[in-house]
Amino acid sequence: MNRNKIIHIPDLISIGIYSALYFILVGVAEMLVVVIVPGYSYSYSPAMSALMTGAVFMLMVAKVPKFGAITIMGSVLGLFFFLSGLFPFALVPSVVAAVLADVVAYIFKYKSKIGLLLSYVIFSFNTTGPIIQLLFSPDSYVANLKERGKDASYIQNVFESISNYTGALAFVSLIIAAIIGGLFGQKMLKKHFIKAGIV
């Protein structure tokens, strides 16, 4: 087997470090979103994350252009999400998105800019676990209001419409943000890391 195609210890160390930076940026993005508008604005945190993490992803792929790297990154992130207890089911979209992103990057041989951008957009879905969980969990509070004998049908309508609307918008904004974030990442890669000879 070609030595340069399989993942070695040095690659794992790079992946671990970039994953940590990725995670921190996701954390910062989520904080920003929650602080700016509390409540359901939370659904836009994947979009905010995608806007910020492009450079880390692009640098990671440039450093370790091997099949499996993106998958390992997604799995480590997913497991950490799982352990953090907030959204354990984030593990599933994390791993699925990472595997798909890896396959796309592989098809484009980890070189094509468009291919990597597409790969990044797919990878960005790894942070959607929490919102999927929140959006599709039963609207217990509506039930709750009903139980307490309040005329909640009007409110329920509003909730549902916002809920559907939010879900669609969250995903559309995520894709747009990932494209912008990915392009920004590629620009940073060229402007700094290629020029400095780091990659």
């Binding site: 993942i7 070695h8 210890i9 040095p10 794992l12 160390i13 790079s14 671990g16 470090i17 970039y18 994953s19 940590a20 930076l21 995670f23 921190i24 508008v37 509390p38 409540g39 359901y40 604005s41 939370y42 910020m52 450079a55 880390v56 640098l59 450093k63 499996g68 390992i72 990154m73 799995s75 480590v76 497991l79 950490f80 799982f82 352990l83 953090s84 207890g85 907030l86 959204f87 354990p88 089911f89 929140l134 969990s137 039963p138 217990s140 509070y141 709750n144 209001l145 307490r148 309040k150 409110i155 509003v158 909730f159 916002i162 920004f184 940073m188 700094h192 890391f193 400095a196 780091i198």
Partner: protein, 231 residues
């Protein structure tokens, strides 16, 4: 009192906390589960966490039952229900998460992963991932200082005025340094045998204690009662 959960217990508690969320049973089940989960903070004198989370949880409960029913404006109701109701349901998971990340060492998790024969490519990456957080924090502080000396704005305002630029100024040195550390760490790790084939052993030997068994049982009871229709 000094004891800690075995990582296996934590994994079990994580699952319990999610079942509580999914079953969406009575509020009583949720409250009992939260109380059971929060007790160890007090037993181990982690009052900061114990009291802090209790307060948040109580506020959320009060808001859900006394404030929400009084609000009719959907614009207000919507975010408030999210904070007091949606986020409240996450509290059990959050508590277990704190045990998992804050009160369980990297060594214990790695020991479990090795025990369960996780592939090396995963355990090594996870170990580096965990170890790198303090480095990011230190680097970030240094970069903030450096920005101050250069007269580069770094407050909240600068993120609003020129978000891309400010972000770039912080991100690039972070990534540059990360790449440097990756190389140094690799060199050191290779000389310490990280690339050795064969099974790796562990200094830390995991051992379930009485406490773990008590918690495995206690945390399951509210669920059983709910499913049995008692709660």
């Amino acid at each position: 009192m000094k004891w800690r959960f075995d990582p296996r217990t934590i994994l079990y508690l994580l699952i319990i906390s999610q079942l509580v969320l999914f079953l969406d049973g009575s509020i009583l089940m949720e409250i009992i589960t939260v109380i059971i989960l929060i007790i160890p903070f007090f037993l181990t004198r982690q009052l900061y966490w114990g009291i802090g989370i209790s307060m948040i949880y109580i506020l959320q409960l009060l808001a859900t039952f006394f404030l929400l029913p009084k609000i009719t404006s959907p614009i207000l109701l919507y975010p408030l229900s999210m904070v007091s109701n949606g986020f409240r349901e996450l509290i059990p998971g959050m508590i277990v998460g704190i045990y998992a990340i804050k009160f369980t060492s990297l060594g214990e998790w790695i020991s479990l992963f090795k025990k369960w024969h996780f592939p090396k490519f995963f355990t090594i990456t996870f170990a580096v991932f965990f170890r790198f957080f303090p480095t990011i924090q230190q680097d970030y502080q240094q970069i903030r200082n450096a920005m101050a000396f250069r007269g580069i704005e770094r407050g909240v305002l600068s993120f609003i005025k020129q978000p891309r630029q400010t972000f770039e100024f912080i991100l690039i040195p972070l990534l540059m340094n990360a790449s440097q550390v990756a190389q140094d760490l690799t060199i050191a790790a290779l000389t310490k045998g990280l690339s050795m084939p064969g099974k790796q052993t562990s200094l830390i030997q995991l051992q379930m204690t009485k406490f773990d068994y008590i918690y495995l049982t206690a945390s399951t009871l509210p669920l059983i009662f709910t499913l049995g229709g008692f709660l």
